[in-house]
Amino acid sequence: MTVTEQHQDHPGTGSRTSLRPEPPSRSGLRRQDAMWATVLIAPTAIGLLVFSIWPTLLTFYYSFTSWGAFGGHTWAGLENYTQLLHDSELLQSLVNTAILSLITLLSVPLGIVVAALLHRPDFRLTRFYRTVYFLPAVTLPASIALMWRLVYNGDFGPLNWTLSLVGIDGPSWLADSHTAIYALGVVSIWGSIGYNMVLFLAGMQAIPRDYYEAAELDGAGSISQFFQITVPLLTPTTFFVTVITVINALQAFDLVFLMIGKTNPALEKSQTVVYLFYEKGFVESQGGYAAAIAFVLLAVILVFTAVQFRMQRRWVHYG
């Protein structure tokens, strides 16, 4: 190997003495490849370093400091982490986040079903429905929040109006601490079905039609085709979608910020970890403590993702 490397440096001279001669043009290409690879990766690599890795390291450092409202921090040791252990608000927000993530996971099976329905070649208005389902994924969170707040309004909302037709007196969904987190969960599912559906559609398009044709010849109906062919062959996509959905759900912020708000009596039972991070860091000026919260969340996400990667051996089938 060292020999060929030498030849790379002197492409004109070594080919005759080399044990494994390689055309000089190829090693030249290799060097060019390396250069181009570096050039092409550089923007992403620099971006990651500057906007992800460096801030992560800084945040880790800051989680051991105490901050004033306007800059200036002092070393606090493990103080923030001891405070974490006694923070019932953080514990509650972890519970809330877990509930919200579990509910949001429903968008995975629902996404498969919707994708399967829209994948059928004989289905009319396919494009229209695909757009309708994907719309929430590209709508501004603020307008989503505004619309759902109207829907959920206890006195004037269409949801309670509908319920009143069958004699049910609905609560103030977003302001009642028993219902708020579930109300958010429904919006979260609604918001992620479209994105998941698109990924599942892509996965389904990669399944060869022959399987279905063969199944049809054997007399399998569309439902058994779905469970015997589509679902098993989609498991790699399902795995990816599940991981992404869980990570996104664990980082939920905008729905709480826009639909609950800080004067809502249901806030305690519906605020997520990231919302608490925002409250502590940006409203109550406890930058160091907020950094520690961020690290707890990072740890939770790492653990969940690692568990999912281990579990995939049991149910994910690659080709």
Binding site: F70, S172, G261, T263, P265
Partner: protein, 421 residues
């Protein structure tokens, strides 16, 4: 170089030579400059634009760029941008936040400018002017002063056969009227009793003889028997007399909306809501204002906005020009005559009252006789919202008023103790 000197002088390093340097700075800043000006109230935007246009006509070299950020995001955006060394040149400040920002060194003291231009601080309502002094420095010229009063729906009163509220009303009169006005069949409640500090319980705590914050600023007064009485008054309206919508209902639809849509007959509203009320044709017909009912004493809290300068502004002189103009008589008059706010500039209240003859705005002005500035400490935001969230548990009935008040006081005391260290 000259500009740098003035920048330092303005920051309070030496008052004696500002006069001579002021002239030099005018030369140094001879080019056109744009001053960014951050505000949070959309209803006031039009008036601010009018004032800025007039200012620009008189000072052609200075343009004011008004940046509107909704209240919910204003303080986080401001704090983050100031921390990052940017932020608007001039921005709105309120009493609860002044000490935090002044203490953090992000506001420019304006003493030197005030002395140089001989601005008479006696022109302003003293309670608000004093609130903008911190550690022997002046940080703002006050823009306005606000008051709370009782808005009531004349038509609902007539229908229920209840006499209109008067200046003699006590809490008991209010409670009795609210019960009579409540009509579950029509979905109408007597009063809206949200868990709001400035608009409601801060006032009743004072009226009951309690304090939110001790005089030395070191201890919470929320757990005193008087304060608990002041809080209980509101909680009873919801949970005992059922004369108010629940806190959950008022979270979905705020009390101002409930009032303007005829769902509640009374609510405590601020003088800053007058423009909103004027904008609704039906409200002009049925709404009017009465003084806040009293208890043992007449008392109310009052806030007032100040215009402060970013200590890192690149154009301190131009920023001051704008602050001086906004704090001056002409701008105060424009704010009053458009009904925007009660100017903090003395003698302008009459013009504000006359701007909206459809409502009896004089009661807001009269209310100021009993006004105390909103309670504030070095880091008010560290306890104001968390304490309010704790108190809200009494409103929803998930905690007793005593327990909620005790926990809120604890939160407040912990935060106050941290300020000292």
């Amino acid at each position: 170089m000259a500009a740098l000197c003035v920048g330092l002088a303005a920051a309070g390093c030496s008052g004696s030579d500002t006069g001579s340097n002021g002239g030099a700075a005018a030369k140094a800043e001879s080019g056109a400059v744009t001053i960014s000006y951050a505000i949070w109230e959309k209803p006031q935007l039009a008036t601010m634009q009018k004032i800025a246009a007039k200012f620009h006509a008189e000072n052609p070299k200075i343009t004011v760029d008004i940046q509107l950020t909704p209240w919910e995001q204003y303080w986080t955006k401001l704090q983050t941008s100031l921390k990052g060394g940017s932020g608007a040149d001039v921005f709105w400040m309120n009493i609860p936040n002044l000490k935090k920002y002044a203490n953090g060194g992000v506001l420019m003291p304006i003493d030197a400018y005030v002395d140089r231009d001989k601005v008479d601080l006696g022109n302003y309502v003293p309670a608000v002017m004093d609130a903008y002094k911190f550690k022997d420095h002046v940080y703002a010229l006050p823009k306005d002063v606000d008051a709370i009063a009782l808005w009531y729906n004349k038509e609902l009163f007539k229908q229920a056969g209840v006499d209109y509220p008067t200046a003699d009303w006590t809490w008991d009169d209010l409670t009795a009227a609210a019960q009579k006005l409540t009509d579950p069949a029509k979905g109408v409640y007597g009063i809206a009793a949200p868990a709001e500090d400035q608009a409601n319980y801060d006032n009743t705590i004072l009226q009951a003889g309690g304090q939110i914050l001790s005089a030395d600023g070191k201890k919470s007064g929320l757990d005193s028997p008087e304060a608990i009485r002041g809080l209980q008054f509101w909680v009873d309206l919801i949970n005992k007399y059922h004369a108010s919508p629940s806190l959950q209902q008022m979270t979905d639809t705020d009390s101002e909306q409930m009032f303007t849509s005829g769902k509640v007959a009374m609510y405590y509203g601020g003088s800053w809501t007058v423009l909103d009320m004027k904008a609704i044709p039906e409200a002009k017909r049925f709404a009017d204002v009465a003084p806040m009912p009293h208890d043992a004493q007449h008392y109310s809290v009052s806030n007032g906005l100040g215009m402060v300068i970013n200590s890192k502004t690149k154009h301190p002189d131009a920023a001051w020009q704008w602050v001086k103009y906004l704090g001056g008589k002409a701008a105060a008059q424009m704010q009053a005559e458009t009904g925007t706010v009660i100017p903090a500039y003395k003698g302008m209240a009459d013009a504000w009252v006359k701007s909206s003859p459809e409502f009896n705005l004089q009661v807001f002005v009269d209310q100021l006789k009993y006004a105390q500035p909103l309670p504030s400490s070095i880091d008010t935001p560290a306890w104001r919202d968390p304490a309010a969230a704790e108190l809200a548990k009494a409103w929803t009935g998930s905690a007793s008023v005593e327990d909620a008040a005790r926990k809120a006081a604890q939160i407040m005391n912990d935060a106050l103790a941290k300020e000292g260290s």
